[in-house]
Amino acid sequence: MTLPTQKLINDGNAAVDEMLAGILAAHPDHLFRPADAPRAIVARHGPRPGKVALVIGGGSGHEPTFLGFVGKGLADAAAIGNVFASPPPQPAVDAALAAQGGAGVLFMYGNYAGDVMNFDMASELLEMEGVEARTVLTTDDIASHTDRAKRRGVAGNVFIFKAAGAAADLMLPLDEVERIARHANARTCTMGVALSSCSLPQTRRPSFDLPVGEMEIGMGIHGEPGVRRGPLRPADEVVDEIMDALLAEMGAARGDRVAVLVNSLGATPLMELYILNARVAQRLDQAGLGVHRTLVGPYCTSLDMAGASITLMHLDDELTRLIDHPCDCAMFRHG
């Protein structure tokens, strides 16, 4: 029998609520929780009359995704689920009602069956309250399906939410914010590898078995198996495999520009991420692509999983402006 994994937690079932208490204590200037809405987190600055409310959400365990991206210039609120579990409809409704300013709500979240069912129920409930809610799913994980519409949403969330949040902050109408969100999603591609399993706070057991010496290629952010398993290879070869796939998918022309995210799945430290980025930069240079901005760090994690993902957003003038738009979130700032 495997021994429990080492975690600094109290009761696994209380982990999410205790985390939220710690977040609210750390970031009182950025975030608050509406009365009677224990799983809705709202930006102190950002939501305002006439502004489309961007409401994001999903399961916990991906921090700083989602709630770290709630703040002026980015998302207005987040609905918080249990670990790796879509929130039920109520927190999404709570978040939307607290954040909405009369110009409609845009729900954005990763494309997972559970999230779709719960957020759709939330939309129906909002409709009954007379609040218009639209939905844009993120589907950036190119390893998860050949059909774009069936892909998972993973670390590319950061750029996609950022573009939509900037559009909403610029007071664009719901149609426009929705169009931009779809456009941002369509131009964002991610692929990742895992070097270890994660383990849930409730079970404290590895969710799956990944022998030392192997890695999972195309791993999702919940420990869902990837496209294949293979021997752990040197960083440059891992990057090359991912970049070959991303560049083929993206079909960018020489001279085009991209935003880059080299993301830790949780346990992989900055040293390794920057080693990956050295090769990413070389590959982009060889492809004749310009780098507009590079983010490196834990942006979309999978609890304590070791591994990393690479995201490219294929910029155009519109997306560049939106990516450059300032934002001020508890766990992400720009400009």
């Binding site: 249990n82 790796f84 409809p89 997972y112 069956a113 559970g114 069912m117 849930l200 999702g220 198996p225």
Partner: protein, 203 residues
């Protein structure tokens, strides 16, 4: 001997205990094809449903509705909307009655199947919990004995081993999902087994 609100409370209580006991095994199954949390969702959902039902008054339908709400709000995930919808549909069948003939549990099973199918938009053969609910519902409606309904659910769950997932979290696995059980189908067979105990008059 009718199926009363007390029987329904006892059923939810048994389901909560059952899912707690099976939690780690269901998580392990979900770890192979999904995200490893199905046992947690089912335990939290049934425990919350049990608490809600235990604390509720009223008809069978009222209790089913309370269970639906309790399950959904505690869980979210895929299981939350699926079981919440199933319980709401079951409540509609049970209606505002304080008790019903035990045989109506056959319609309850079928209604739960319908709820899962409607909410999840899946069809049988897609390697989901529907692959347990669907054959069980067919057996129940066809008048099969409780043990045969249970067996149909279990066989349906077992058959997911040979299916390639076509919906839900494991859909992206493609052929890699072959050979593994669908965790939601396995837990569904357990739920159905406990309903069939009640149908048999044993609980």
């Amino acid at each position: 001997m009718e199926f009363t609100t007390d029987d329904l409370k006892a059923l939810f209580h048994r389901l909560a205990a059952r899912m707690a006991a099976e939690r780690d095994a269901l998580c392990a199954l979900d770890g192979l094809v999904g995200d490893g949390d199905h046992g947690i969702a089912m335990e939290q959902g049934m425990v919350a449903a049990d608490a809600a039902v235990a604390g509720a008054d009223g008809s069978l339908q009222d209790l089913f509705n309370a269970g639906a709400k309790g399950f959904l709000n505690a869980v979210g995930a895929s299981s939350g909307p699926l079981y919440a919808t199933a319980f709401l549909r079951a409540g509609k069948v049970a209606g505002p009655r304080p008790a019903m003939p035990r045989d109506d549990l056959r319609q309850i099973i079928a209604a739960m199947r319908d709820g899962v199918a409607q909410r999840g938009k899946a069809a049988p053969g897609m390697k989901t919990m529907l692959d347990a609910w669907h054959p069980a519902a067919e057996a129940a409606l066809g008048g099969a004995a409780p043990d045969a309904i249970t067996a149909a659910a279990r066989d349906g769950a077992e058959a997911t081993r040979t299916m390639v997932a076509a919906i839900g979290r494991s859909e992206r696995l493609g052929a890699r999902s072959l050979g593994h059980l669908d965790p939601g189908a396995v837990s569904a067979a357990m739920v159905i087994e406990d309903i069939c105990r009640a149908l048999r008059g044993q609980g």
